[in-house]
């Protein structure tokens, strides 16, 4: 692992960096990747980097390097390690040829779970596989079962929210994300995500739009409070406040104390626009540095243009 790669800087959702990392796999794994190293030492950081590399290799289709990573991990932690079992399942899913092979993976997961019912990585893989096989109802049921056993798993709550949202169950999704926020109250991206969900739900025809919209504004505000110059938070704040103002949900003196008055919303919108403009100006100066978030910047510029032209 002597290669000069800083795996921690890899943003998982960023395709270019994943590709870049996977291309370095042969260099990191050394000239003979199939032979597992005899030493069983190494820092925890090295192994988490190896895991990242494994994921990047699988994503880019470099199954051979992925297999080498997996071999090393199972050599160190043993094939019965729960996390290694999860990764192993991931590898089998990625290399599965057709639907029948995937069904076989599912059967295998169920067999493992019947032996040890609280094998969390495998439980998660099972949910993911059910979702991937277009069985969202089963996936939701399995996930709820997982959360019954482990109610403090914020990742699972977020996944549940995403599943509910994909099924059009907005209020359940919002509830799940609120649960996740109870576990990780300072997660600024989850606050922004909840704001987005509330914003989407407030556009439904039979919803309590003023209450949802106002809650959405609150969560975007919290995400900005937790993180300086958070582009996503400002973007959402502008959208949410302007919808509240346009749809006439903003009163001078609202009857519900949780709904912000019109003056505050106006001020928030102005503040959001001003800060977003500053962010966009400061970031477009050196384009290279913002390569991974370029699409965000473009979206922000479009939003600003819309508001300046109207």
């Amino acid at each position: 692992m002597g290669a000069p790669v800083d795996v921690r800087e890899i943003n998982g959702s960023d395709l270019i960096s994943a590709l870049h990392l996977a291309q370095q796999a042969p260099a990191i794994l050394g000239p003979n990747p199939t032979k597992a190293t005899t030493s069983t030492t190494g820092t925890a950081e090295e192994y988490s980097q190896l895991e990242q590399l494994f994921l990047a290799c699988l994503r880019t289709g470099d199954d051979q390097s992925a297999q080498a990573c997996l071999d090393r991990l199972s050599h160190r932690f043993g094939p019965a390690n729960e996390r290694v079992m999860g990764l192993c399942g991931l590898y089998q899913e990625a290399t599965a040829k057709d639907r029948a092979a995937l069904e076989k993976c599912l059967e295998e997961y169920e067999k493992i779970l019947s032996e040890s019912p609280v094998n969390v990585p495998i439980m998660k893989r099972r949910v993911a596989l059910l979702r991937s096989l277009d069985r969202p109802t089963d996936a939701i049921a399995a996930l709820i079962q997982l959360l019954d056993a482990l109610p403090t798993d914020a990742e699972a709550w977020c996944e549940l929210a995403d599943l509910y949202q994909s099924q059009g169950l907005g209020s359940q999704a919002i509830f799940s994300l609120e649960e996740a926020l109870l576990i990780a109250p300072n997660a600024w991206n989850i606050h922004a995500r909840l704001g987005e969900l509330l914003y989407v739900s407030s556009s439904a025809p039979d919803s309590d739009a003023s209450r949802l919209g106002s809650k959405s504004v609150q969560h975007f505000c919290r995400s900005i409070e937790l993180c300086d110059d958070y582009l996503r938070g400002f973007y959402g704040l502008i959208l949410a406040t302007s919808r509240m103002l346009e749809n006439g949900h903003a009163d001078e003196r609202p009857s519900d104390p949780t709904v912000a008055p019109k003056k505050t919303l106006d001020q928030l919108k102005g503040f959001g626009l001003q800060r977003l403009r500053e962010i966009v100006e400061s970031r477009s100066v050196d384009d290279q540095h913002w390569a991974s978030s370029r699409s965000e910047l473009i979206a922000a510029k479009e939003l600003l243009n819309r508001f300046t032209s109207s």
């Binding site: 040829k97 979702r131 582009l231």
Partner: protein
């Protein structure tokens, strides 16, 4: 540590050593008279401590933000990769690997087409067989560059 801070610290340490040595010699010389330490030695010690402190402060690493929003803002400005809550949105435990693969392949092909000027849009429909080919190509292309 910059050169200046090293120099200042070294100077301070020399002064401190000198003061210590002087104090030692003084006690040896005036052992039985029980004279108090002369003021210049005391002043030299204090000045030396101040100089060493200044040198160390000058050479300290850049301060890290202690308020949560500054710290989080810095992470976002660096592209958000170090966000400890990124896992809640990426959710590696629930990764649908088969949905992850194709966007990467498509992106790679698009990058290639930009470089070589060849239109490969038709190649974007990638089957599992292609996935393997692509993996081999990725390895093959990288090896000579790294050796």
């Amino acid at each position: 540590m910059s050169f200046l801070s090293k120099l200042v610290t070294l100077f301070g340490l020399v002064l401190l050593t000198h003061a210590g040595y002087s104090a030692h010699e003084h006690t040896v010389l005036f052992n039985n008279t029980r004279l108090a330490l002369p003021h210049d030695i005391i002043v030299e010690t204090l000045v030396a401590v101040v100089i060493v402190s200044i040198g160390l402060v000058l050479g300290a690493d850049k301060l890290k933000p202690i308020s949560w929003r500054d710290w989080a803002g810095q992470i976002e400005r660096d592209g958000g990769a170090r966000n400890p809550y990124l896992g809640l949105e990426e959710r590696y435990g629930f990764w649908d690997i088969r949905a992850q693969v194709e966007p990467v392949l498509a992106m790679a092909l698009r990058l290639c087409s930009r470089v070589s000027g060849i239109v490969v849009e038709h190649a974007l429909t990638i089957s599992q067989a292609k996935r393997k080919e692509f993996g081999d190509w990725m390895r093959g292309q990288d090896l000579p560059a790294k050796q």
